[in-house]
C-alpha cells in the first residue's frame, strides 16, 4: 500500500545543494514527522516526494513502483498545504469534490464521498459556504477533507497547524492523530515544532541542513540521541550542555543533561549556583540557574519547590541520564 522509499535523493537549486543525499524508508500506515530548524529542507523534501519539484538525483519509490518521473497527480498522494490553498471561488462542497471531479467520478459517488468526508470532519453545516467565510480551523478541516476524499496512498502535511492559535493547534493535533488511527493511511508530516513531532509521530526524522541527523521513535530520540544536534533539538526545555573539565571528568568532550534530570536541593549537591529567573507554570517550575564555573543551566522542578531570584541552590545530575558526546558531537555509549 502506502510505503515510500527514498534512495539517494538529492536536490540542488542552482549551485546550492539544499539536500545533499537522503536515504529513507517509510512503512505503510506509519505516521512520520520531518522535523528540523527553519530552512533545513523539510518542505523541499516533502515537495520532492509529492512531485512538485524534480529530484536532481536518486529515486523515489512509492508502493513498490518507481515514481521518480511521475507527475504529482499520478503518485496517489494528497497534500495539505500550510496556507491551505483552498480554491477561493468554490464552495466547501466544490472544494472537497474537486479531486473526485478531476478523476471523472460519478455525480452520485462524489456526493456520497463528500458527505462522508464532511461528517468525519464536522463540516456538514458549512458545505455551502465559501472558504473566506470559514475560521482558520474550519479551513484547515476543508483542506484535510479535500485530501482524504481521494483515498490516497499517503498524506503529506506541510506545517498544517502553523497558522492556528495555540489552543486550536492542540485540538487539531489530536484530530489529525485520531484521523490517522481511523484511516491507517501513511502520513508524512512536516513541522518545526518538536512538541508536535513528539506527540504525533510513530517515527521522527530529524533534519539539519538537508541531512538526516537521526531517525527513530519519539522516545528513542529522547532517550538515545545520536548526536548533539538531536539532543538539543528534541525535548523542551532544551538539554543543558557542559564542556570543559566537568565533561572531561566523565571522559567526554561534552556532557548533556536534560532539565528534568537535574535534582535540586537547597543544601547539598554536585554543582552550586544562583537562581536567575524562575518560570512558574503551576505544575512545574523552570529554573534558570547561573551555576558557578559552568554557566547557565536550566532545571525543571516540581511546582512546589519554592525558590526565587537570587537564592542559592545545589544541582545534581542523575548519572543514569547523563549523555556523553565526543569532540565531533557524536554520542558515546
Amino acid at each position: 500500500m502506502g510505503s515510500i522509499t527514498l534512495k539517494n535523493v538529492s536536490k540542488v537549486f542552482g549551485a546550492h545543494a539544499v539536500i545533499p543525499s537522503i536515504d529513507l524508508d517509510i512503512n505503510d500506515g506509519e505516521f512520520v514527522v520531518f522535523v528540523g530548524p527553519s530552512g533545513c529542507g523539510k518542505s523541499t523534501l516533502l515537495r520532492l516526494i509529492a512531485g512538485l519539484e524534480d529530484v536532481s538525483d536518486g529515486a523515489i519509490v512509492i508502493d513498490g513502483k518507481n515514481a521518480t518521473e511521475l507527475p504529482p497527480a499520478k503518485r496517489g498522494l494528497s497534500m495539505v498545504f500550510q496556507s491551505y490553498a483552498l480554491y477561493p471561488h468554490m464552495s466547501v462542497r466544490a472544494n472537497i469534490a474537486f479531486p473526485l471531479k478531476m478523476a471523472g467520478e460519478d455525480k452520485a459517488v462524489i456526493d456520497k464521498k463528500v458527505a462522508d468526508a464532511a461528517r468525519v470532519l464536522n463540516l456538514t453545516d458549512y458545505l455551502d459556504r465559501k472558504p473566506r467565510q470559514l475560521s482558520g480551523g474550519q479551513r484547515q478541516r476543508v483542506a484535510i477533507g479535500r485530501a482524504i476524499v481521494r483515498q490516497p496512498e499517503a498524506f503529506l502535511f506541510d506545517e498544517p497547524l502553523s497558522n492556528l492559535d495555540a489552543a486550536l493547534r492542540v485540538n487539531m493535533r489530536l484530530e489529525i492523530s485520531q484521523l490517522h488511527q481511523q484511516l491507517k493511511t501513511t502520513m508524512i508530516y512536516v513541522t518545526h515544532d518538536q512538541v508536535e513531532a513528539m506527540t504525533m509521530a510513530d517515527k521522527i526524522v530529524v533534519l539539519n541542513r538537508g541531512r538526516i541527523e537521526q531517525v527513530g521513535s519519539p522516545l528513542d530520540l529522547y532517550h538515545r540521541p545520536d548526536n548533539l544536534f538531536v539532543a538539543g533539538f528534541i525535548g523542551s526545555p532544551k538539554m543543558n550542555f557542559i564542556s570543559g573539565s566537568q565533561a572531561a571528568g566523565h571522559q567526554a568532550h561534552t556532557i548533556g543533561i536534560r532539565p528534568e534530570h537535574l535534582v535540586l536541593s537547597k543544601d547539598h549537591g554536585t554543582w552550586q549556583g544562583t537562581v536567575g529567573v524562575a518560570e512558574h507554570l503551576g505544575s512545574d517550575t523552570f529554573l534558570h540557574v547561573n551555576a558557578d564555573a559552568i554557566g547557565t543551566l536550566t532545571a525543571r522542578v516540581s511546582g512546589d519547590f519554592a525558590v526565587t531570584h537570587g537564592d542559592r541552590v545545589f544541582l545534581t545530575p542523575d548519572p543514569q541520564r547523563l549523555h556523553k558526546f565526543d569532540e565531533k558531537g557524536l554520542a558515546i555509549r
Binding site: 504529482p72 498522494l77 498545504f81 490553498a85 480554491y87 477561493p88 474537486f98 479531486p99 478531476m102 479535500r146
Partner: protein
Amino acid sequence: MATLHTRSAARLMIAPSVLLLLAWMIVPLALTIYFSLLRYNLLMPGMEEFAGLTNYTYFLTDPAFFQAVFNTLAIVLGVLFITVVGGIGLALLLDQPMFGQGIVRILVIAPFLIMPTVAALVWKNMFMNPVNGLFAWLAKLVGLQPFDFLANAPLFSIILIVAWQWLPFATLILLTALQSLDEEQKEAAQMDGAGAWSRFIYLVLPHLSRAITVVILIQTIFLLSVFAEILVTTNGGPGTQSTNLTFLVYAQALLQFDVGGASAGGIIAVILANIVAFFLMRMIGKTLEA
C-alpha cells in the same frame, strides 16, 4: 466604513468633490440640451431660433444614424472580444519564465504608448495600403491579389487597429492579475489531478474574472467614443460604412455646421451610452462585489 459615525463623516468629506463634479458635468450638459432645441447653424450666425424637437427627429430619422449605432456597438464588442481573448492568451504566455522577459514585456506594452492618430496612420500607410503596404506585399509574395482593407472592409479594419492599441492594456491588467494567483493553489490543483486545461478553467479563469470585468468596463468607456482612428483612416466612409456615433456628431457639427443637430446627436449618444452602462453594470456589478 464600519460605523454610522464614520459613514456620515465620510459623506461630509466627499461632499465638496461630489458637488464640484456635479457642476462640472451639469453645465455642459445643460448647454448641450439648450443648443439641441435651437435651429443653430454656423453658416447663419445670429439666426438662432427655438426649434423644438425638430433636431431630434431629423437626427433619429437620418439613415446614417442606425448605421452609426450599429457601427459603434460593432467596434465596442469587436474590440472587447479581441482584446480580452488575446489579452488572456498573451498574459498566459508572458507569465511563463523565458529569456529576455523584460524586453518582451516592454515590446508588448509599446502600442499603448503610441498616439491613436499616429497608430492609425502607420496602419493605413504601412500595413493596409493596397500598393505599398506590408499586407499587400505579403499577399503578392504568395501570389494573391492585394486586399484593400480600408475600402472593402473599413469597419473590420478599424476594429483591428483599435484592438491593436488596446491589447497591451488588457494584457497588462490580466498579467498582473495572473501573477497574483497563489502558487500553492496551482500546486494543490496539480496534486488533485487537474491538467493544464482544467486548471485554466477552474482556477485561472475565475481568478481573472475581476480583472476581466475591469478591462471590459474601462475599455467600453473609451471605445464608445473612438474617433481619431476613423478620421485618419476612412473618414467614416466609404459612405457611412465606418461612421460611429461620435463621428456622426462631428460630421453634423463641423462638416455641415449644424450645431443644433450635432447637439441633439450628442444628447442621443449620451442616452445610448447610459443604456450601455446600465446593462454593463447589471451584468458585471456582481463580479466586482464578490
